[in-house]
Symmetry: C2
Amino acid sequence: MLKGHQSWLFENKPSIISTATVVGPFEGQGPLAEDFDIIHGDLYLGQDSWEKAEKAYMEEAAKMAIQHAGLTEGQIQFYLGGDLMNQIISSSFTARTLTIPFLGMFGACSTSMESLALSAFIVNGGGANYVLSGTCSHNASVEKQFRYPTEYGSQKPPTAQYTVTGAGAAILAPDGEGPYVTSATIGRVIDMGIKDPFNMGAAMAPAAVDTIEAHFRDLQISPGYYDLIVTGDLSKVGYLIACDLFHKHNIPMQQTTYSDCGMLIYNYDQQNVQSGASGCGCSAVVTYGHLLNRMRRGELNRILVVATGALLSPLSFQQKESIPCIAHAVSIEKSK
Amino acid sequence: MLKGHQSWLFENKPSIISTATVVGPFEGQGPLAEDFDIIHGDLYLGQDSWEKAEKAYMEEAAKMAIQHAGLTEGQIQFYLGGDLMNQIISSSFTARTLTIPFLGMFGACSTSMESLALSAFIVNGGGANYVLSGTCSHNASVEKQFRYPTEYGSQKPPTAQYTVTGAGAAILAPDGEGPYVTSATIGRVIDMGIKDPFNMGAAMAPAAVDTIEAHFRDLQISPGYYDLIVTGDLSKVGYLIACDLFHKHNIPMQQTTYSDCGMLIYNYDQQNVQSGASGCGCSAVVTYGHLLNRMRRGELNRILVVATGALLSPLSFQQKESIPCIAHAVSIEKSK
């Protein structure tokens, strides 16, 4: 199972048997609108706080993924997931609603692929018949916790990113019609000394490149193996830095097959999202919605999703620490 | 590997090849002092904030566990761990120092056994040669984040618990002289409606009993299989509630073989800890220090460690939510 130093090759190729994506109104105005299962017009989702709204998005995505698989909560062995809220309350409270045995994860915006990698490991190793993997974020709850409440209307520099309101979930099983999770590379923490929380793309790009480089080394493949490699969520600023780093490290990455979840979900011309999107929900809804739909349509056969996370807290920033970053890569293939 | 609905049986019996425990001055005054590798006289550990001190405790325990195993950081494939700080910064920043590929976990005080269970799963399934599993907590950083800064000297009710300052780490490998991790049961979230963050033992006891009941059902064994079953950290109040629940659920638990990590680490007569101890570090240092030493001395052959976690955040409390709780059980045996 271990391949190289930090990767797993899933010989039994766990199948993603269902997915669900639920997003907010702003994401529904973006170019991927048709890829999402539900677009809500209400950011609050009938709740009385942003945090409870975030949980409601996650609950809906989780329940819908279970329903899409034709299963009930009681048939799922484990739920792996996390979010950006302190003590990952969105996920923990969702686990309370679902009553599925729960393994809480935290890797900031990399949590989507951290959860998917471990879910695949568990299913591949015979540890479960069905695993639910999911992550979420909410623009207003994240802004309130990490920066300023959105109601303040504070301004942001062009390097900042816009947190996605949305939740994405997937059910994995040992057998199914695919797509299949075929390998994963777990990232190490990389910190190049960047301290600006309004420039997380720059902070995270080196972590993404480090994990991608490790993935190719461990699996003994090259970028050409994949039809598409997406990082998430470096957005414009981080994407260009990652491109520079690929070049410097002699990784033959083609810009035509390299993209970033943070650059796909919004329309830069019409939506004011600065550098692009971020949040645990971003790579989850882009992957489980848009990218898997493209695989289902036959446009993509092999993709590598490299979710990136900035592991800072408001307090570590206040204590003048730089931003430690991480990225986890999961490869998804259409055929066994 | 899956056994019953929510348990794993580790056929290859991963070995705990080394451990390390580092605690603060107050823990050094308790009855388990001789079981810890290092007792620091300084709560700050030379750092300029409580949070950085917590990280320094974790770094020291991690490095020492690696050293005790005769390994170097570069030989460890993965580090699984977490803590109570927002965005688990103590663990993420430790991962930055160690540069070991990192999987961040959050299950509040259950994180110790969540990490050990997943570490054992990974090693058992051939996913790593060596995995580092560790958790930490710091009394002053936790009090500051969840309640009041310790400098305020605020009073507490007798149901409150005292967060342990300490870090515990273990290295797992496919082979070794033991003790061995033989099975694990992943808990579901249980919430009986308790809202008082000064009575977490009462909130967590039903989750502990639910997981223990599932463990016996899934593994088809009874409490008599173990020489010792410890919950962590219910402390006095929660312990008595758990005893009542065992009785009500017809679980034949003997009080002589059932204990709680939160009741073991301090001296109730001389240390003012109200109901007892808590914190991610509590079950970690009690298990990796005290309990494994008792196994090494031949006093215990089979133990079940059931770490409990209260998955609240200060914000969920302020929003009048009750406290969702969880417990994960890991069985450790002296012989294969």
